[in-house]
Subunit: 221 residues, 2 copies
């Protein structure tokens, strides 16, 4: 294991330069950048669709997937500028590739750039893409024990989104354990409960984004 | 991306020696080894609990997790010999660590060694642990589009297990697309539908294992 960590660290050191450059570009632009991380099928693309429906602000998306452009297709239906990156087996996105993808997006005419990372609770948490903050997504069917089992993501995110709460009546999900475990790892991060079918909970997500957009604009541009 | 692939390949070349050694040991022992791979919360530990309940054959387990020994605790309740590996951030198991973990298990008195890999649809698929076959798990809430989005695992597994079928009435899961996409990637692999709450579908899983145990014994020992 040690060997892999060492190799990853050297790659990460090189990649940190790209992340810093992205952060500086976005500071000048006053553009908020959010890195969405969660398992396959936890609802990252659905979150973006609901944000398009309810948010009232323009945004662009970079989609990371091993293969296919299905998520980009879904978002194109919403008239959202989107670039698809296919990692061809790579388990996470890296800043150098994100920087290239950003070149083909109309970033001066949007308020937020969302990165939908590769569906994976592990590796994407370790790579800085130059984002303002990471949002950790967990869907209720994955189980309440996941924060402690995948602590790196939950500890390093500024907001935790529990999705698919409409399925709670059909699951044995220990909500108390979940919120306590998240608090242990990350006392500051708000935990938002989201139900895409009814729209419940999205008001808090949208408010959080609007506040961060205002802050970012005030400091940039 | 290319850089990571190259580095991983050199690690993998070294690790293949360990995988080959495990395969040779298990051939002599007549021990079947199965590598279970799927997302966080897809039901890998539940599959092992149901296999203990319904299988009627002794098995041992190596648990891979970033952190915690919750899964090992769950299985210890079933009187199953289990070793927990904590990868401390590592996104997959490797053969050299598995070989060490095997030393502390009573492998001469069991028919199967299950490896419950780290919850991740991406990285574990690329590492040979010396197993007889990989089983790919997908839970219905993850969505029917996942095989084509995470093709490496589904193409390299000898059986595909669709878990949590009891949730199907509450989801929009395109079963036809799912089975067709799996067939495109892997025409030979049977697709088993499993419902842990009713036990439906487990008879096929248990039969498949019993057949493989018989074959393995006939060629080894």
């Amino acid at each position: 294991m040690k060997k892999i960590v060492t190799l990853q660290q050297s790659i990460m050191a090189e990649d940190e330069k790209f992340a810093a450059a992205i952060r500086e570009e976005n500071r000048k632009r006053g553009l908020l950048m959010v890195n969405l991380i969660g398992s396959p099928g936890c609802g990252k693309t659905t979150l973006l669709e609901k944000t398009a429906e309810l948010g009232g602000f323009p945004f662009a998306v970079i989609e990371g997937d091993l293969a296919t452009d299905r998520d980009a297709e879904r978002l194109a239906g919403w008239d959202i500028p989107v670039v698809q990156i296919n990692t061809a087996g790579g388990c996470h996105l890296e800043a150098n590739i994100v920087q290239k993808a950003m070149e083909s997006l109309p970033l001066d005419s949007v308020d937020v750039l969302f990165i939908e990372n590769v569906g994976n609770l592990v590796c994407p948490a370790e790579f800085d893409l130059g984002e303002d903050f990471k949002a950790a997504l967990l869907s209720t069917p994955e189980g309440a024990d996941k924060p402690l089992k995948y602590p790196y993501l939950f500890a390093s995110s500024q907001v935790v989104l529990l999705t698919k709460t409409d399925l709670l009546p059909h699951l044995s999900f220990d909500m108390e354990m979940f919120t306590e475990d998240v608090k242990k790892l990350n006392p500051e991060a708000p935990v938002l409960l989201l139900d895409a079918s009814s729209g419940e909970g999205y008001d808090r997500w949208i408010s959080l984004l609007q506040e961060r957009i205002r802050e970012k604009r005030a400091h940039g541009r």
